[in-house]
């Protein structure tokens, strides 16, 4: 349940204006000399009071409508405008050397936490590639799963292109404007069943920018392939030979692909102004109608 409030609360200041006007600039009505006018006013006071209250009520209802009462529902993101990011993580055996995998996981965790408003998926590859987590806003599940992934979970080899290909499938029904894949590896394609060209074309077809990160020394991975993937999909290739460098790479990507709606609140507003507007207008018409009927009766 969201909060209840008014879109234009300043409109209520009109009530003060109304009060001041009623007090200091009363409506000009016809004036007659009449004996014992004070007693006549006293006799009719009850009726007059009722009418005055109804008039004020009608005005208050219209002012309330102008103030636009609304329910502000909890922050919801405009999904279409956010990013969809597929993290492709190498879990082959070589990632265990120098504790790389743990360092990478830690840096990725931080990255995930920073991308608050984006959908993120996770693809793991080794001998084969599989989607560990499809694109989701549920960061806590994603982090929980990431925590459970260990080196060798998908085998010890490197199915690099397959991983890219499979992860592109995550975007199959995506409507997001910005689709990103971040491919991290410390090895070269060794067992894949998908050719590089197919993987890259698929990525291009879905409009996915692929950032590639080579971890470790240049000889471990194939910088040309990674460079090629990045270039052809409009992404960028990074080399990271230290934990600090890797962290920097992710920060760079984070900066480059800054979600437009980061920090922007989207609030679902449900307007209720038709209710007071309808009631106020009905009351106003009743007052006018009643006055007209009475006037006709006198003629």
């Amino acid at each position: 349940m969201g909060e209840f409030g008014f879109v234009h609360p300043w409109a209520f200041s009109l009530l003060v204006v109304y009060g001041v006007c009623r007090r200091f600039c009363p409506q000009k009505s016809e004036r007659f000399w009449f004996p014992y006018a004070k007693r006549a006013a006293k006799t009719t006071a009850k009726r007059r009071w009722l009418k005055e209250v109804l008039r004020a009520l009608a005005f208050a209802l219209l002012v309330t409508a102008l103030a636009d009462p609304a329910r502000f529902d909890s922050v919801a993101l405009e999904r279409d405008r956010g990013y969809e990011i597929s993290l492709i993580l190498d879990a082959s055996g070589s990632m265990e050397i120098s504790n790389k995998f743990k360092i990478v996981k830690k840096i990725i965790e931080e990255f995930i936490q920073q991308r608050k408003h984006d959908k993120i998926g996770l693809t793991i590859f080794g001998d084969f590639a599989y989607v560990a987590v499809p694109l989701t806003y549920d960061k806590s599940s994603l982090l929980r799963l990431l925590d459970k992934i260990e080196v060798g979970i998908a085998g010890t080899h490197t199915a690099l292109y397959e991983a890219l290909f499979i992860s592109t499938k995550l975007f199959y029904k995506s409507k997001a404007k910005n689709k990103i894949a971040i491919l991290l590896t410390d090895g070269m394609e060794s067992v894949g069943s998908v050719p590089l060209r197919v993987a890259v074309e698929t990525a291009k077809k879905y409009g996915i920018r692929v950032y590639t990160i080579g971890v470790g020394s240049v000889g471990d991975y194939d910088p040309f392939v990674l460079e090629k993937i990045a270039r052809q999909t409009g992404g960028k290739f990074f080399k990271a030979d230290s934990a600090a460098k890797l962290a920097e790479v992710y920060q760079t990507i984070d900066r480059l692909e800054k979600s437009e709606i980061t920090g922007e609140r989207y609030v679902r507003v449900t307007h209720y102004f038709p209710w007071p507007l309808g009631a106020g207008t009905a009351l106003l018409f009743w007052l006018l109608f009643e006055g007209a009927v009475r006037a006709r009766r006198r003629v």
């Binding site: 009363p26 004036r31 009449f34």
Partner: protein, 277 residues
């Protein structure tokens, strides 16, 4: 119509009413007799049949008549109560009707060789005329009554009663002409003088069917009041006025005070004749 024209029309009407018709020759309270009974004797030819004492006639089976002390000239004090409430009228202005009543009383008194004492009173006497014995004197009072500025004036009947008790040493006929809502404290006054009250009222006052949301200005206080004259409010107003009238009449009846309500759409002469019969 200018005030002068109104004055002339009013005088002509009052005189014609009083002297132009047989039925209207007498405003009978001004009996032309002394008020003190001298004796009751048997009826003789030529006696006024109106003087027959029916009680004694019935008891003795012989016609008897009342004989009064030799006729003395009466003092007829006609009090014009000056109050803003008379600044109103849908047919005729209440003030004008009151002036006509003053004229009728004045002419009747002068015709009977009584002394006519017009008194214009608000909280205190505004204008005192010497006792008038001729028509000319009456004209002055009527002209003054017509031209009097009543707006912003509020009469005090209690002060009037005190004043009349002090100012009129001899018993006399007092006719108070005006518009009163509340019951006046006239007990002492009615005990001392022969008292009549002629209240003047406009029919529209009883049922002020104004359009919605008018401002009524009190001619006595000048105060302005917004009113909503709905059907319910009109009914309540009418009931309030009728209840006040009933109380007023009951008060007058209990104290032997002659009372009449003269409406602005009727002939005041008839009402006066009934009152003073």
């Amino acid at each position: 119509m200018t005030q002068d024209e109104r004055f002339k029309a009013l005088i002509i009407k009052a005189r014609r009413r009083l002297f132009g018709e047989r039925a209207g020759r007498h405003l009978s309270a001004l009996k032309g007799e002394g008020l003190d009974l001298a004796e009751i004797r048997e009826y003789r030819d030529g006696d006024d049949v109106r003087k027959i004492n029916w009680r004694v006639t019935a008891r003795t089976a012989q016609a008897h008549v009342n004989l009064f002390e030799e006729r003395k000239a009466l003092d007829v004090a006609a009090v014009f109560l000056v109050d803003g409430a008379v600044y109103f009228g849908s047919v005729r202005q209440k003030q004008e009707v009151m002036a006509e009543i003053m004229a009728l009383l004045g002419f009747a008194a002068v015709a009977r060789e009584d002394r006519f004492r017009p008194i214009f009173f608000e909280r205190a006497p505004l204008r005192l005329f010497r006792p008038q014995t001729d028509y000319k004197g009456v004209y002055g009072a009527v002209e003054y009554a017509l031209g009097l500025e009543v707006l912003g004036k509020r009469a005090d009947p209690t002060a009037l009663a005190d004043y009349l008790i002090r100012a009129l040493p001899r018993r006399c006929v007092v006719v108070v002409v005006g518009d009163m809502w509340d019951i006046p404290a006239f007990d002492a006054l009615s005990a001392r003088h022969e008292l009549y009250i002629a209240r003047v009222r406009d029919p529209f006052e009883m049922s002020p069917a104004f359009f919605e949301g008018v401002t009524l200005q009190d001619p006595a206080s000048g105060g302005a009041f917004e009113v909503e004259m709905t059907q319910g409010a009109l009914r309540a107003w009418r009931q309030e006025r009728e209840a006040a009238d009933r109380d007023f009449e009951a008060y007058c009846l209990a104290r032997g005070i002659g009372h009449t309500l003269v409406w602005t759409d009727e002939d005041p002469f008839e009402k006066l004749r009934e009152l003073l019969r």
